[in-house]
């Protein structure tokens, strides 16, 4: 029942006395344990959508609710993985992952058990006492993902989490996230501008229009993925070669390209 519902969500900015509609009529429902990716051209307001679900920003019309409750402020039931990692530089890997568990009032033995579980799961063993600046970008984002997953949140919100990583690291992280998502399915709202990433990771893809941002099309990936059994392939490049993957990718590309074409003239 832990779903995210966007109901007639609107976001209007006021600048120099002029109203500027950033988001218009967003209606979207993310089901329990569903992985939904939002793709769209830059500036379409996809990050704003995620931030509204997190409670870090607020709609000017309509409402966002999680698990039946209207979102008013940020909280550990909606864990966020930020593009800029946002790990506390003055805390060790262990202490960063532990931070949210203190807020939830989890007792010490249980904290230890859960942290150790995610340190192992994210391949962070041996780095417990390291500080973020001593780690590579990929390792830092693993810590941020562990910090979010360890809370056992109702929903996970990821804002272009691999956007700041180099291409090779990015591929590894995408494979790991797929592994994590299939083994421990959670409700995930994933923001990206990378089409392949969205097709590879998501159960459904929401393609957004630009200015004012709205939902252009929602694409069901999961049924195709399961029918064609993508998950039998361990490597991302093998999945990307499948005709069904290529077909979907091209479809999403065209939807996005159409919008850019409008601007070129």
């Amino acid at each position: 029942m832990a779903n995210i519902v966007f109901q007639d969500v609107q976001r209007v900015f006021h600048q120099n006395g002029q109203a500027f509609v950033a988001l218009k009529d967003i209606n979207l429902e993310v089901q329990d344990r569903e992985f939904v990716a939002i793709v769209g051209p830059s500036g379409c307001g996809k990050t704003t959508c995620m931030r509204m679900a997190a409670g870090l920003e607020h709609p000017t019309g309509g409402q966002v609710s999680v698990d039946g409750e209207v979102v008013t402020k940020p909280g550990p039931d909606r864990a966020v993985v930020f593009q800029a990692f946002a790990l506390f530089p003055w805390k060790t890997v262990w202490d960063n992952i532990e931070f949210g568990l203190h807020s939830l009032g989890v007792d010490a033995p249980e904290r230890k058990r859960r942290i150790e579980q995610y340190i192992a799961l994210m391949g962070l063993g041996g780095y417990e006492r390291a500080y973020p600046h001593q780690l590579s970008g990929g390792m830092q984002q693993r810590v941020a993902i562990a910090r979010a997953y360890v809370l056992d949140p109702k929903v996970l919100l990821m804002d272009e989490p691999f956007g700041a990583l180099d291409a090779q690291t990015r591929v590894v992280m995408q494979e790991e996230l797929v592994r994590l998502a299939r083994q421990h399915p959670r409700t995930v709202l994933f923001i990206t501008h990378a089409v392949e990433e969205a097709v590879y990771l998501a159960d459904r893809i929401v393609v957004m229009t630009r200015r004012p941002g709205g939902v252009r099309e929602i694409i069901d990936v999961k049924s195709i993925r399961e029918r064609e059994d993508w998950d039998q392939h361990k490597r991302i490049e093998d999945v990307m070669d499948l005709p069904s993957f290529v077909h979907l990718r091209t479809h999403v590309w065209k939807l996005l390209r159409d919008q850019h074409a409008g601007e070129d003239h």
Partner: protein
């Protein structure tokens, strides 16, 4: 454009050259005989007087006893400034209403020189320890508060957002996010604060004390012993430098640990 940094050997050579030139000019001025020795004592007069002050009590105590007494007052005033300045700075940075209440008073009071509090220090505390501590506090407090506040205000928004989504209370946001984020700024503030506090000390001891380096200098002046006054000046300068060296070390250590 900034000049490239100096090689360490060159660095120390130039620092030594600066010190030697200062003493040389002083010596020449004293030897030229333009003024009387009481008007400007020669370096060796000061050294000789220093030897006497260390062994023979003047104004009640020997020099290092005066120094110890001054350092005690300084430590109390400084610690008090830190204990109030850091928490208040964090509260002002986190709660806008605390900022609104405290700012107008603080922004006005901080322009009053610590020495202006001397009449009240004498009136309220007599010659007890409270008077000098109050004046040192008035000197040391503003930089601690300002640097804590500014450091906490400049914390990257993403850390605040991360702590909120991780469910942190106001207490944890202030102690585990704002405070550590502000540490480099706070330590920089402590250096300024220690400097101003230590400077205010002489003023404090001029009137409201019966021991201390400042008191020693007042007594030296009364006895027309300019060499005594200069010994006090030298002691204040050297101890001030040492305090700053210690704090600068702490600052470098913290920056290194943060990977700055």
């Amino acid at each position: 454009m900034l000049q490239p940094p100096l090689a360490p050997v060159r660095f120390w050579q130039l620092s030594a050259a600066g010190g030697v030139s200062f003493v040389a000019v002083w010596t020449v001025a004293a030897l030229a005989g333009i003024t009387s020795r009481d008007f400007l004592p020669a370096p060796w007069d000061v050294i000789e007087r220093f030897g006497q002050l260390v062994t023979t009590p003047f104004a009640g105590y020997v020099l290092h006893e005066h120094l110890l007494s001054s350092l005690q007052r300084f430590a109390m005033g400084f610690v008090l400034a830190v204990c109030i300045g850091i928490p208040l700075g964090l509260l002002m940075a986190w709660f806008p209403w605390v900022d609104r209440i405290a700012s107008p008073v603080f922004e006005t009071v901080r322009f009053i020189a610590p020495i202006a509090w001397v009449p009240f220090a004498a009136l309220w505390f007599g010659t007890g320890i409270g008077g000098p501590v109050l004046i040192i506090f008035m000197g040391a407090f503003p930089p601690v508060l300002i640097n804590t506040y500014r450091g906490a205000k400049q914390v990257d928004r993403k850390y605040i957002e991360a702590s909120q989504m991780l469910g942190a209370s106001s207490w944890r946001a202030m102690t585990e996010v704002l405070l550590p984020a502000a540490v480099p700024s706070i330590v920089a503030g402590l250096r300024i604060s220690a400097g101003l506090g230590w400077q205010s000390l002489v003023g404090a001891e001029l009137i409201v004390a019966s021991s201390g380096v400042g008191y020693l200098m007042v007594k030296g002046q009364a006895a027309i012993s300019t060499a005594t006054v200069m010994c006090g000046m030298a002691a204040i300068g050297v101890i001030g430098l040492l305090i700053d060296v210690v704090l600068r070390r702490a600052q470098l250590l913290i920056e290194k640990r943060r990977g700055l």
